[in-house]
Every structure is written in C-alpha cells, then in structure tokens.
C-alpha cells in the first residue's frame, strides 16, 4: 500500500500540478525570487564599488564585516535614517511616486524569465519561472519601456532644470535604443518561432546559443541594453559633469537610493534577458542532459546555477565596461542609435529572415545543421562589422573636418612660414 502510494507520487512528480498547488507554488516562487533578487541588487552595488576599486588599484569598502560584505546593510541603514528633503514647488505626488515607478518595472520583468529546468516535487512538476506567459517576450519589451516613466517623472516633478534635462534625455535615449533593441530581438523570434521565453531557451538548446547564430543581433542587443539601463557609456540622464546628477538631483535619503537600486535592478534584468535570449538561458552548454526528462532536483539546481552564473557574468561585464569607457556625447549617442544601430539591425533582420526562409525551403531541419549555416553567415557578418564597418568612421565628430587644402596651407605655414603671401606693408 505504502509503496503503491509512493510510486504514485513519483509518477506524479513529472506531471502538471493541480490548481491549488500551482497557486501556492507561485507564491513561494515569488517570495524566493524577490528575496534573491533584492539581495542580488544590494550586492551588485557592493560589487560595483569593489570591482571599480580593484580596476583603479584601490581597495573599495572593505571595513564593515569580512571583506566589507556588511557594507550593504550599513548603507541601507544610513539611507533610511537620513533626512528627506522636498524641493519647493515640486509636484509632491509625482515626486514621491517616481522612485517606485523607476524600480518596479525592472522587477516585474523577472516574472517571466525562466531560471531553471522544471523542478519535480511530490505535488507535481513545478516550472522554475514565476509566470510562464505564452507572450513572455512581448511582456518584457512592454514592461521595459515603462521603466522610463520613473525617470521622466522624477525629472519633471523636481522643478529643477537639470533634473528636467536629465529626464528628457532619458526618454529620448530610451526611445531611440528601444527600436534597435526590438529589431535585434526580432531575429531571435524568427529562429524560435514563438514568443514564450521557455521556447526560446528550448530552441537554443537544440540549435546552439543565439550568441553564435545571431552574433550581430546579440552585439546590438548588448549595446542597446547599456543605453536602456542608463549605464556608462550611455549614462547621459545623470551625467554629473553636465547635469549635476540629472533626474535625481533633488532626491535625498531612501528616495534617492531607490534610483541607484532601480539602476542595478535594471542591470540585473537586462543581464538576465541577455542570458535568456542569446546565451541559452538556463541551458548548460555541450550537453543535452539538462533539458531532457525526467527532470530531477539535481538538474534544477545545476541549471539554476548555470543561469545565475551567466547573469552574474553580465552584471560583471556591465561594471567592467563602466570603469573602462568614457561617456558618449549626446549627439554621438543619437547618431549611434539612429544612424548606425538601427540600419544595421534592420538589414540584419532581412539577412536572417532570408537565410531562415532559404534553409526551410532547402528542407534543412531546425537543428545543429541549421545552426551551423547561420553561424557561418554570422562569422562573415561579424568580420565585416568589426574590420570594415568599425574602422575609419567617426560617430558624429565634434567639428567639421578641415578642408584638405586648408590643412596643407596651414602645415606649410607652420613649417616654412614662407608659402603664405606676406601682408603688404602700408606705405611701402
């Protein structure tokens, strides 16, 4: 009798759970994800400070707790205890609302990102994603666009010209790069043929990671993600040298620290999207062991670890880039977005679409072979991009180039001082 029940349970663990279990599991997943995510955000602020310090041959915060690990708590306490200031004539309601609006969208996106292979439990198989929406990908696109509201409202509600400028910059920047970003992800959808993120991952585990099959799209997505999260080299909304602190100039205490928190939250979310769309999500490379049934707890843990390490790598990459590159100028940012990334991504969609169509016509099944052909094409395109398109072009130079003749004349003048006609002296 007992064994029979046990067997029933084991069999049960690979099937879909009942509604009650589903609801409880979802709540548990939400709490777990929220906790892990918040800790991750807190520690990414810490990681930023330590990594930046190492890169600059400094130490960074290493006094509070072992290796400074409790610095995060100290900062939190400090920020909560500080005085909150409200600028005069600020639009109070929006001023208070804005930090929340900046933070929440980054967080909501996590609802649809799968973070591991399905977990078998005695009550049924639980998908390791809070909500496996059939339109998951469209959901992330929609939500990530909402994130700019927080920044724009913060800038507008502060009654401060620098804040307003920062907010305006943020909205212009996000709109510009959203297009290139959307275009680059169209290619992913062409391959997976589905907008559910679990399907995107399944496709990558069969054909190979999209970073190899769609390198150009991955590259454009990476650049646009930097712009979308307002990170250096595209942190124009808060450019200190021009705008004091941009949209959060007037904020103080915890309301201020909501903005850095939302920046890091966005950063982690963008890293997760990058990992999911182009680097196989929770897929472990070079093996099919992880994405075929029967699913076990070990597989869930291994895939979750894989996913976390991918996300952490991209978070590190964000930090690494930040302490390497200087900031773009505003017109350069716009030319890069509209004149370079947008045309490249549009052209790339055409190339990928024709390739997929041709391969489908030729009867190649979607598998390793299909991936190999795309990979070959991408190597050529990446080569063209890096060695031809990337060389000898300035993104919006700061001045109109000197006329060649003028340059020669000036050079001659500076060397010999004789080729220029001497001014005729008066009265001679």
């Amino acid at each position: 009798m007992m064994t029979a029940m046990l067997f029933a349970q084991v069999a049960n663990s690979q099937t879909d759970p009942s509604t009650g279990v589903f609801i409880i599991a979802t709540v548990v997943k939400m709490v777990v994800i929220f906790t892990i995510y918040m800790v991750g955000v807190a520690y990414s602020t810490f990681a930023e400070r330590r990594v930046s310090a190492w890169i600059q041959d400094r130490h960074g915060p290493n006094r509070v707790g072992p290796q400074g690990l409790l610095q995060v708590a100290a900062d939190g306490i400090k920020n909560i205890m500080k005085e909150e200031t409200y600028p005069g004539y600020a639009s109070q309601a929006l001023f208070i609302l804005a930090p929340g609006l900046a933070f929440i969208p980054a967080f909501i996106t996590w609802a649809v990102i799968p973070f591991g292979s399905p977990l078998p439990t005695p009550w049924g198989r639980i998908d390791l994603v809070v909500a496996d929406l059939p339109v998951g990908f469209l959901f992330t696109l929609a939500i990530s666009s909402v994130g700019v509201y927080g920044i724009v409202l913060a800038g507008w509600a502060s009654n401060n010209k620098y804040a307003l400028l920062g907010g305006l910059r943020a909205s212009a920047q996000m709109i510009s790069y959203e297009i290139a970003m959307g275009m680059s992800t169209v290619c992913v959808l062409l391959l997976s043929g589905n907008v559910s993120l679990n399907q995107v991952i399944a496709q990558q585990s069969q054909m190979g990671w999209n970073a190899l099959l769609l390198s150009v799209a991955a590259f454009i997505f990476l650049i646009s993600a930097f712009a979308e999260t307002n990170r250096v080299p595209f942190d124009l909304p808060e450019a200190e040298s021009e705008l004091i602190a941009g949209y959060h100039t007037e904020y103080s205490a915890m309301k201020f620290s909501m903005f850095p928190i939302s920046e890091y939250a966005n950063m982690i979310t963008a890293s997760a999207m990058m990992a999911t769309l182009f680097f196989g999500g929770w897929d472990i490379p070079f093996t099919q062991w992880d994405n075929t049934g029967p699913f076990t707890v070990l597989k869930s843990l291994a895939t979750f670890a894989m996913f976390s390490s991918k996300v952490l790598f991209f978070v590190f990459f964000y930090i690494w880039i930040r302490w390497t590159l200087p900031r773009f100028r505003y017109d350069q940012l716009m030319s890069l977005g509209w004149k370079i990334l947008l045309p490249i991504s549009l052209g790339y969609v055409v190339v990928v679409a024709s390739t997929v169509l041709a391969l489908d016509y030729a009867g190649v099944t979607r598998g390793p072979m299909f991936g190999a052909v795309l990979f070959g094409i991408n190597i050529v395109l990446m080569g063209l991009l890096l060695f031809v398109a990337d060389r000898g072009r300035l993104v919006s130079p700061a001045y109109s180039r000197l006329d060649k003749r003028n340059v020669d004349k000036l050079r001659a003048a500076s060397v010999g001082r004789s080729t220029l006609p001497r001014p005729v002296e008066k009265g001679a």
Binding site: W54, W323, T324, L386, V395, A398
Partner: protein
C-alpha cells in the same frame, strides 16, 4: 557667437570603436587581477616616521611623576601660533610650577620651537600623528593629558648631524 572646440586631428584610418573598447577592457582587467598597489595600506601598515617628526606634544615628568615644567614662560613667548596657555604658580619652597598649562593642538603649527626653547627639556613635540577627536574642544590638551602621552619624542635638529643619521 560660435563656440570653437579644438579637437585633435586624428587620422581617420586609425579610428576604431570596438577594438579600442576591447583594448580598454583588457587594460582594466589587467589592473583588476593584478593591482598595482603603490600607496601605504594605511590602517593596516604604517610608515616609519622620521625621528625628527614633530607631532602631538608630550610633557616629560620627573621621577616622582610631576611635570618637569618650571613655568618659566619661554614656550608661550616663543610660540608663533600663540597656542600655549600658561598660568604659573609657586609652592611654599618657592618652586615654580604651572597651575594651568594648555596647548591647543588645533592652532599649533608644530614648529617645535617650544621644545627647543624649554630650559628644563619638559615640553616636547612627539613622533605621533593620529590625534583625531570628535569635538574641537578636545584638541586643547591640558597638563594631565600632556604628561599622559607615551609616544617617543622628537629628536631636534642637530647642527653636528645635519641629516639626522
């Protein structure tokens, strides 16, 4: 009025964004894994300070624990920062001693004149520099605090040994 920005006339053949970025990333990564630590790691390591370091004052005492000072008034007179406050007193035997002896370490410029001028070798500047306090008032060291200091005292410049060897 047009604003002219002077820009380096870089040959356009040398312009490259991705490669320059990769080069920069390599450089920062190198520094991250192999930090070139050139500074003294202060709270963990300290510098050996010179024997002539002039820092926090110290009042030396006689064997019976009293300050050596005889309240001659030379140090308040010589002090260029005017930061020594001295009120002299006299006991029954006619020995002079300081009733009040205060040095404002905040105003002191650590010139060391007080040590040089003192006939009793009582007041000294010391080889010590960590004298942070929570309030300005606590920088005024009274006689008790000056005698309680334990750090080594400064060796003054000696014409016979100009480099302090």
């Amino acid at each position: 009025m047009t604003i002219k920005v002077k820009v380096l006339d870089r040959p356009i053949e040398q312009v490259s964004y991705v490669r320059a970025t990769v080069k920069g990333l390599a450089l920062t990564f190198k520094h991250m894994v192999d930090p070139h630590k050139v500074t003294v790691q202060y709270p963990d390591e300290r510098w050996d300070i010179s024997p002539r370091w002039r820092g926090t004052h110290r009042m030396l005492t006689t064997e019976d624990g009293k300050a050596k000072c005889v309240a001659c008034g030379l140090c308040p007179t010589v002090c260029p920062a005017n930061c020594i406050k001295l009120v002299p007193g006299e006991d029954e035997q006619g020995n002079r001693y300081p009733l009040v002896f205060e040095i404002d370490e905040f105003r002191c410029i650590f010139c060391g004149y007080c040590q040089e001028v003192c006939p009793e070798e009582a007041i000294h500047v010391g080889r010590h520099y960590e004298n942070a306090e929570y309030s300005r008032d606590s920088f005024v060291y009274d006689l008790q605090r000056l005698t309680e200091q334990t750090h080594p005292v400064c060796e003054m410049w000696d014409p016979a040994d100009q480099k302090g060897e």
